[in-house]
Amino acid sequence: MPTKNIALLNNSRFYILCFSLLLSIAVVSTLRLEITSDQLFLIRTQQIYGLIAVIFWYVALIISPIGYVIGKSRIKHLEFARRAIGVSAAYFVLLHGLVALQGPLGGLEQLQYLPTLFKWSIGAGFIAFIILLVMALTSFDKVVRFMSFRRWKWLHRLVYFGGVLAVLHIWTIGTHLAYSWVSYSAFLSLAVLSFLEIFRVMKIFSVRSQELQRKDFFAVMLLSLWGLSLVAIASIPLLVENFHAKHSSQTHNHSDKVTD
């Protein structure tokens, strides 16, 4: 099948998937060589796989709205590569979950011993993973043709619901959020994504709405909706319990001393 092989080598998705596979091997190998403790090695591997999964997921989500801002023709190659980026995100989420389960958590049967917050958080992360897995499994051209593009598109909008669950999973037990610079970076990333998504949705609706075709009305609506979304993002720490915030404050407040 020489023609098929040549087509594969001309496909940017092939290179992204190969890159992801090699990156996962390089990460685990480097960490194994760098870290003496087996337990710490598993913790770091799980954390870095999780971080890479988030980066892939974010890039996959942001490509489409960027196209509405700068013009789809300018990012046609990225739009083409988007499916492979999404599949890579699913792959790293799978690795993140497997390493966490077999490493720090100690196996599937151990999940019952986790505190309630962790159970909820891992449940949200698992549902997000299932959604991402469905996206990955239905990302082939043949499946798109079989389902019809319209149905496929509706199914793939579930990725936003999965994204919300992933944010809650990361917020509740995510490890790096204990550092303020990570919290600010996460807020900034979500703020940029929400702005672009609102812009995209409004652009779509402006085709049918005369009001939205007026530039001033469009700008006011965009900024108002974005402001609301920022309030929603900023209120996550107030509405959802975070494990690290709780015991980080305790680090500086050992008030209830028991023994000395």
Partner: protein, 174 residues
């Protein structure tokens, strides 16, 4: 292709600037009845000779009441044991400790509640030291092989992609 390279660079810089952080290690009691999530500051990787903090987040609702008595004993690599002063806040128990040297420590948390004692035992390896040599890294020939293999394959992938950049640009778009 330059855009793909940009994405790769962004991801690599994300990795480079990511600091080690805190994680969750699940420890179950000897009777497999209750679990606790243990965190060790800093970064689950304490430094010998410097202050560390230990956090236990106990699963059971029984420990949300204040009438339980926890006790933390750390067994040092030389066999001696230290009884550590602890704090509790609901079902979260915390303590500060300076691991004196590198080596493997046993962390034992005893909780007396309602006339019964629950024991959580966990091993903690301290491999970094502030003033002395760190524990020697073990040899992992498979990891070395995998790293060299992945780096070589990555290099080959870049060469192939660079040589076919025009075909990729023409093929890989809607």
């Amino acid at each position: 292709m330059s855009k793909l390279l940009f994405i790769a660079l962004v991801m690599m810089s994300g990795l480079a600037f990511s600091r080690p952080a805190l994680a969750h290690v699940l420890v179950t009691d000897a009777n497999k009845q209750i679990g606790t999530v243990l965190h060790v500051y800093p970064d689950d990787d304490p430094i010998a000779g410097e202050a560390s903090s230990l956090f236990f987040y106990v699963q059971s609702d029984d420990y949300k009441q204040p009438d339980y008595n926890p006790q933390l004993v750390i067994k040092n690599p030389d066999g001696s044991s230290s009884n550590i002063g602890i704090s509790k806040d609901g079902s979260t128990i915390s303590a500060d400790y300076v691991f004196p040297t590198t080596g493997v420590y046993m962390i034992n948390l005893y909780i007396d509640s309602g006339g019964k004692q629950t024991v959580f035992a966990s091993q903690q390896r301290v491999s970094r030291a502030s003033s002395e040599a760190t524990l020697e890294a073990q040899s992992h020939s498979l990891a070395e092989f995998a790293l060299v293999l992945s780096a070589s394959a990555f290099l080959a992938l870049i060469i192939v992609a660079f040589n076919r950049r025009q075909q990729i640009e023409n093929f890989s778009r809607f």
